[in-house]
Symmetry: none
Subunit: 163 residues, 2 copies
DNA sequence: TGAAATCCCATAAAATCCCATTGTATCCCG
DNA sequence: CGGGATACAATGGGATTTTATGGGATTTCA
């Protein structure tokens, strides 16, 4: 069970004074090919200091995986607690936000804080999901490949030169 | 069998002097997409010191799950008793309350005490259902993941409370 | 008849909609 | 192939609507 259309590419967009950001059109087009919703779900990334984002199609996939895990382990009492915990993380620790006709979301303050996003948001496609970074934190992270940092630098220059 | 729309996200709302609380709009919108009722059912959570809440659509699903369990185990005498017990918990130990045109319920005093809810109610989406917590009890519970406690702390700060 | 529930209105802050601008990529046609 | 016309993406700002919440007035019912 895999999703047919994958998120790829990168973009650096501004977060305006009201906290709005444009979701890059190449990501929106994947969302709209996967389903007919116009929302994204935001969560803190488990490993990196950034946000993980995905569409309802991926959320449904994730949810059904959890349900199957529970059914398989239903007799095990420890599994019940683990299920409760994962369910809380999957749903309570995430936020679903719609994007408007111009492709923008209102960045929820909590997620903005969790992802340490300032006035620039770097979008990175990662296949089934995508990530949103504070570009400086990506440049500072030792685990990130240099080639990817070059892309971030390029996006930053591009924006510096044009404005 | 699964419900299409899922409860997701978190919010911290005030319980006023009359015992009224606003159900967060993102939860209400799920309830109203699942069916045309404007009520929620409250119950003590089986594992955590909080309340479990859901809409009529989920109540129906829960009921049919119970029925199927009974049919499957019809020959087993223990199953009869378990069915009776679970049925009592599912219906007698719950309260259904409507929310008004401004999205508020009047918190039933018994449930408020069972959930130990004071003047702040933390709403957590958990997919098919949602939970209502006294935020302090969540912070004090060892079984709750730290990332989720961070969210509770954020909601408290946002509101200007100390923790 | 008094406490509790319901209804109604008010308000501030936040979210959403609508319209305008700009820069860039794409198309079209001579 | 040049160059203008066109479409669309990203973004800014004002106007409008929704949300959460408080409080008064009215109704219910035991």
């Amino acid at each position: 069970m895999a999703l047919e259309h994958l998120f790829q590419g990168s973009a650096l967009n501004a977060v305006d004074a009201k906290g709005r950001v444009s979701i890059p059109s190449f990501l929106r087009s994947v969302i709209e090919r996967r389903g007919d919703a116009r929302t994204i779900t935001l969560a803190k990334h488990e490993a990196f200091p950034c946000l993980s984002a995905y569409d309802p199609a991926y959320a449904a996939l994730k949810h059904s995986k959890l349900e199957r895990l529970l059914e398989k382990e239903e007799t095990n009492p420890d599994a019940q607690l683990e299920y409760q915990q994962r369910n809380l993380m999957a749903f309570a620790a995430t936020e679903e936000v719609p994007y408007d006709s111009s492709g923008r979301i209102l960045f929820p303050p909590m997620m903005r804080r969790k992802g340490q996003i300032g006035d620039l948001a770097l979008f990175l496609g990662t296949g089934e999901t995508f990530q949103i970074w504070n570009p400086q934190l990506l440049l500072d992270d030792k685990r990130i490949p240099e080639d990817l940092k070059d892309i971030a630098r390029f996006r930053l220059e591009e924006r510096g030169a044009s404005s």
